[in-house]
C-alpha cells in the first residue's frame, strides 16, 4: 500500500531523511518509531503530500504522489500530531467540509458521521464551535474527519495523545476493525507499549535512516525483555571512544 523508494528530504543545512526505503502491505498495522528529530514527522508529511521529496518516490496504492497527487490523496486519511483546525466552524461543519473536499454526498457520509461520533462519544459537542474544544476533543474530530471517506490508508502521527482512556480504547478498536477489513494503518508513536501491543510490523529510524524493520519478535533479540530495551539498544548513540575504536 505504501512504497517509499530512496526517499530523501533536504532542508537548509539539514538532511532530514536519507534514502529511506520502506514497504507497507495492504491491511497492515505499521508502527513507525524513532527518537525525537529522527525524521518520523517528515516521512509522514512526505507520505501525505505536505512536503515534496528532494529525491526518491512516494507510491500510495500504486499511484506516484508526485505524478498524480489528487488520486493518491483520495486514498489517505491523515491525523496530524497537532490538530490545527478551522476554529470558527462547528465540529459538524468541519466534517461536512472535509467530506465535500473528498466529493462525498450527504447521503453517503451522514450515517457514517453519526456512527463515528457515537463511538467516540462526541455527539453532544458536534454543534459547538471547535474553538471551545479541548485537545482530546480536537483529536477526536480529526479522527472522524480522517475516517469519513473510508480511506485505504490511515496515517496517524501520535494518534492517542490527548485522548482519555475510553476514547483511546475506542480509537484502537476502530483502527483494528478497519485493518481487518483491509485498510492499512501507518502511525508514528513514542508509546512503545502501544506499538508492541498493536502493530503487525514496525520500523525504527534514526538520523533520517532506517535502522531496523520487522515484526516485534524479529526486532527484539534474546537479551531484550521488551520493545523498549530493543529500541534503546538500536537507537543508542555510540560514545566517542567507540567511534575512535571503529576508526
Amino acid at each position: 500500500m505504501i512504497k517509499l523508494e530512496n526517499l530523501t528530504k533536504d532542508f537548509i543545512r539539514l538532511r532530514a531523511l536519507d534514502g529511506l526505503d520502506l514497504h507497507v502491505k495492504k491491511g497492515e498495522i505499521f508502527g513507525f518509531l524513532g527518537p525525537n528529530g529522527a525524521g518520523k514527522t517528515t516521512t509522514i508529511r512526505l507520505i501525505t503530500g505536505l512536503l515534496q521529496p528532494t529525491f526518491g518516490r512516494v507510491i500510495i496504492g500504486g499511484i506516484d504522489m508526485a505524478e498524480r497527487p489528487r488520486h493518491a490523496k483520495h486514498q489517505i486519511g491523515y491525523v496530524p500530531d497537532h490538530p490545527f483546525l478551522y476554529d470558527r466552524l462547528s465540529g459538524r461543519e468541519f466534517i461536512e467540509f472535509q467530506a465535500q473536499l473528498f466529493l462525498l454526498k450527504p447521503d453517503n457520509f451522514k450515517p457514517k458521521l453519526d456512527e463515528l461520533t457515537d463511538t467516540l462519544s462526541m455527539d453532544e459537542w458536534l454543534d459547538e464551535r471547535i474553538e471551545s474544544y479541548s485537545r482530546g476533543m480536537r483529536q477526536k474530530i480529526v479522527m472522524v474527519s480522517a475516517l469519513i471517506h473510508d480511506p485505504q490508508l490511515i496515517v496517524l502521527d501520535e494518534p492517542l495523545v490527548g485522548l482519555d482512556p475510553k476514547a483511546a480504547k475506542n480509537v484502537k478498536d476502530i483502527l483494528l476493525r478497519r485493518s481487518e477489513s483491509g485498510t492499512t494503518i501507518f502511525f508514528s508513536t513514542h508509546t512503545l507499549s502501544l506499538a508492541q501491543e498493536f502493530c503487525h510490523n514496525m520500523a525504527i529510524i534514526n538520523h533520517g535512516r532506517l535502522i531496523a524493520q520487522g515484526t516485534y519478535s524479529e526486532l527484539i533479540e534474546k537479551q531484550d525483555p521488551d520493545l523498549e530495551t530493543a529500541f534503546l539498544r538500536l537507537t543508542e548513540e555510540p560514545s566517542e571512544a567507540e567511534i575512535q575504536d571503529g576508526d
Binding site: L50, P80, E93, E96, Q100, L101
Partner: protein
C-alpha cells in the same frame, strides 16, 4: 513601583527578544525573498520620491495657487494619515491587546495588568504604525530635498513632528479599542451586526440629507478658489494635530524656526499627555475589558437560513469543492467580528465617497465639457486607487488566514488551482461591486456619453481583475500561516510590497487610460478625424498590461502553494 518598572523592562525585553528571534529564524529562502522584495520596494519608493519631487516642482511653478495648494495638501495628507493610523491602531489593538493564548499566561504571572497593558500598548503602536510611516518616508524626503532643508531638520521632522502624530493617533485608537471591548465585549454577533448596520445607515443618510451650501467654483473662477484656499490657512491657532504638523512643515519651508519650535513643543506635550492618559485609562479598564469579552459561553455553530438557501441555489451552478470552500470561508468570516469592523469601515468610506460625488454638480458646472472630463478621469483614478488599497488590505491576507489548518487542504484531494480560483472569486466579486459601482455612479452623475461609460467600465473590470491577482499571488508567495491577524499580515514586508506594486500598476494603467480619454476630449472639442488607430493601440496596451498583471502573479502564487507546506 520599582519592582513594577523592572517587570515592565523585563516584558519589553521579552518582546524585543521575540521580534529579534523571529528575524533570526528566517529561513535563507525566505530571507532571500524578503531581500528581493526589499530591493523592489526601495526602487518603487525611489520612483514615488521622484514623482513627489515632480509634483512639488510643478506646483511651485504655478503662480499664486501652487504654494497654497501645497499647504492645503499637507493638511489633507496628515489628516488622512491621522485617521488611517487611528483606525488601523484600533483594529490592531482589538486583537493584539486581547490575544487569548498570551494573556492567559501573562495574567497568571505576578505582574499587574497595568504593566501588561503598557507593554502591549507599545507593541500595538509599533505594529500598526511602522508600515504607514514607511509609506510616508518618500514623501517627506522629497519635500526635504526639494526645499533644500538642512540636515538637522530631518531629526526634527521625524522626532518632533511624526513621532507625536503617531503617538497621539495611536493612543486614540487604543482607547477606542478599550472602550469597544468594554462596551461591546459581551454582546452577541447578531447584536453587533445589527447595530453596526444601523449606525452606518444613519451616517450615510445624514451625509446625504445634509443641506448643501456654497457657490459653484466655475461661477466665481480662480479668484474664488484662491480665497477659499487662503481662508483655510487662517486658522493659525488650531491645536488639531494634522493642522499643527502641516504648520510645522511649512515653518521649515519658510525658515520660521520660532514657530517650528512652538509647534514641536506643543505636539510633544500633547503626545506625552495623551500617552499618560491612555496608560492611566488602561490601568483601570484593561483587565475589566478583557473579562468582559472572555466570560461569554461557547457559541453554537449554526448556519443561517439565508446561507442555506443561498447554497441550495448555488448548488446547480458551482462544483461541490468550490461550494465547500465558499461555505467554509463565509462561515469563518461571519464568526470573526474583527473582519466585519474592517468591512464596515470600508463600506463607510465607499458610501461617503459616493455621497460626496453625487453632490459634485452642486459645486461645479459639469455642463461644461472640461469639468466633466476632469471628474470623469478623477473618479476613475480614485476608483482604481481605492481598489488597490482594498486589495492590499483585504485580498493579500486571505491565503494566510487559512492559518495552520492549511494542512487539511494540502492533504485533501484538492488541486491548488481550485483553491486559488475559489479565493480569486471571493475577493474579486466584492471588489468589482465596489469599484464598478463607483465608476457607474460617477458616470451617471456626470452624464458622460455611452462610449466613455463603456471604456471606463471595461477598464475598471480589467484593473480590478489584475489587482485581485496581484494581491492574491503575492499573498500566496508571502503566505504566513502562523499569523491570525489580517492587519498584521497586511503590514508584513510582503504586504507593503503588494501595496507598492499595486499602486505602481495603477499609476501605469491610469496613465495609459488618460490617452484615449484625452483623444476623445480633443475630438469632441476640436472635431476633425477620430484617431481610431491611436485609440485601438491604447486599448491593446491596456489589455496587454492587464493580462500580464493577472497571469504572472497567479502563476507564481500557484507555484508557491504547490511547494512544501510552510506551517
Amino acid at each position: 513601583m520599582a519592582i513594577e518598572f523592572k517587570l515592565l523592562l523585563l516584558l519589553l525585553n521579552l518582546k524585543a527578544m521575540e521580534m529579534l528571534g523571529n528575524l533570526r529564524s528566517l529561513k535563507p529562502s525566505r530571507l532571500l525573498s524578503f531581500t528581493v522584495s526589499g530591493v523592489i520596494a526601495a526602487v518603487i519608493a525611489f520612483l514615488v520620491y521622484r514623482f513627489d519631487l515632480f509634483v512639488f516642482s510643478y506646483l511651485m511653478g504655478v503662480p499664486e495657487l501652487g504654494r497654497l495648494v501645497i499647504a492645503r495638501f499637507f493638511e489633507i495628507a496628515f489628516l488622512v494619515f491621522f485617521l488611517v493610523l487611528m483606525i488601523s491602531t484600533a483594529l490592531t489593538a482589538l486583537s493584539m491587546l486581547y490575544r487569548e493564548d498570551e494573556l492567559s499566561l501573562l495574567l497568571t504571572l505576578p505582574v499587574s495588568s497595568a504593566t501588561i497593558f503598557t507593554v502591549k500598548y507599545f507593541e500595538v503602536i509599533l505594529f500598526s504604525s511602522w508600515a504607514l510611516v514607511a509609506l510616508a518616508v518618500p514623501f517627506i524626503l522629497s519635500y526635504a530635498v526639494y526645499f533644500k532643508i538642512n540636515f538637522s531638520a530631518y531629526f526634527t521632522i521625524f522626532a518632533g513632528l511624526m513621532l507625536p502624530l503617531v503617538l497621539i493617533s495611536g493612543s486614540v485608537g487604543v482607547v477606542g479599542a478599550l472602550l469597544i471591548r468594554l462596551l461591546l465585549g459581551g454582546k452577541s454577533r447578531r447584536w453587533l451586526f445589527k447595530w453596526s448596520a444601523i449606525v452606518l445607515l444613519i451616517i450615510v443618510l445624514t451625509a446625504t440629507a445634509l443641506k448643501l451650501s456654497g457657490t459653484r467654483v466655475s461661477e466665481k473662477g480662480l479668484a474664488y478658489l484662491i480665497s477659499l484656499l487662503e481662508d483655510s490657512q487662517t486658522d493659525q491657532n488650531s491645536l488639531l494635530p494634522h493642522k499643527l504638523i502641516s504648520r510645522g512643515f511649512l515653518s521649515i519651508l519658510e525658515d520660521r524656526w520660532d514657530q517650528l519650535q512652538r509647534v514641536v513643543l506643543t505636539l510633544l506635550g500633547m503626545a506625552a499627555l495623551v500617552v499618560l492618559l491612555t496608560l492611566d485609562l488602561g490601568k483601570v479598564l484593561y483587565y475589566r475589558s478583557w473579562l468582559k469579552g472572555s466570560d461569554r459561553a461557547p457559541t453554537k455553530g449554526r448556519s443561517s437560513a439565508l446561507l442555506k438557501i443561498s447554497f441550495w441555489t448555488l448548488k446547480r451552478w458551482i462544483s461541490p469543492v468550490y461550494r465547500a470552500l465558499f461555505r467554509k470561508d463565509i462561515l469563518e468570516f461571519r464568526r470573526y467580528p474583527l473582519q466585519w469592523g474592517q468591512s464596515f469601515l470600508l463600506l463607510g468610506f465607499w458610501a461617503m465617497y459616493v455621497v460626496n460625488f453625487v453632490n459634485i454638480p452642486h459645486y461645479f458646472n459639469i455642463d461644461g465639457y472640461f469639468w466633466k472630463m476632469i471628474f470623469y478621469y478623477g473618479n476613475f483614478c480614485f476608483a482604481c486607487f481605492f481598489t488597490a488599497a482594498l486589495a492590499g488590505r483585504f485580498v493579500f491576507p486571505i491565503i494566510s488566514l487559512e492559518g495552520q489548518a492549511f494542512w487539511l487542504l494540502k492533504t485533501a484531494p484538492l488541486a491548488m488551482e481550485s483553491f486559488l480560483w475559489s479565493k480569486f472569486w471571493q475577493a474579486f466579486l466584492p471588489l468589482i461591486f465596489l469599484s464598478s459601482s463607483m465608476v457607474i455612479i460617477g458616470n451617471l452623475v456626470l452624464g458622460v456619453d455611452t462610449g466613455l461609460q463603456q471604456v471606463s467600465l471595461l477598464s475598471i473590470i480589467i484593473i480590478t481583475i489584475s489587482l485581485t491577482s496581484v494581491s492574491l499571488g503575492l499573498g500566496a508567495i508571502f503566505a504566513d500561516f502562523s499569523q491570525r491577524n489580517p492587519m498584521k499580515i497586511a503590514n508584513t514586508p510582503g504586504g507593503i510590497l503588494c501595496i507598492f506594486i499595486s499602486l505602481t500598476f495603477v499609476v501605469l494603467l491610469t496613465t495609459v487610460f488618460a490617452w484615449p480619454a484625452y483623444l476623445h476630449y480633443k475630438f469632441t472639442t476640436f472635431q476633425g478625424i477620430f484617431p481610431l488607430n491611436e485609440w485601438i493601440t491604447a486599448i491593446i496596451i491596456y489589455i496587454a498590461l492587464g493580462v500580464v498583471a493577472t497571469l504572472l502573479p497567479l502563476k507564481l502564487g500557484l507555484k508557491a502553494l504547490n511547494s512544501d507546506l510552510k506551517v
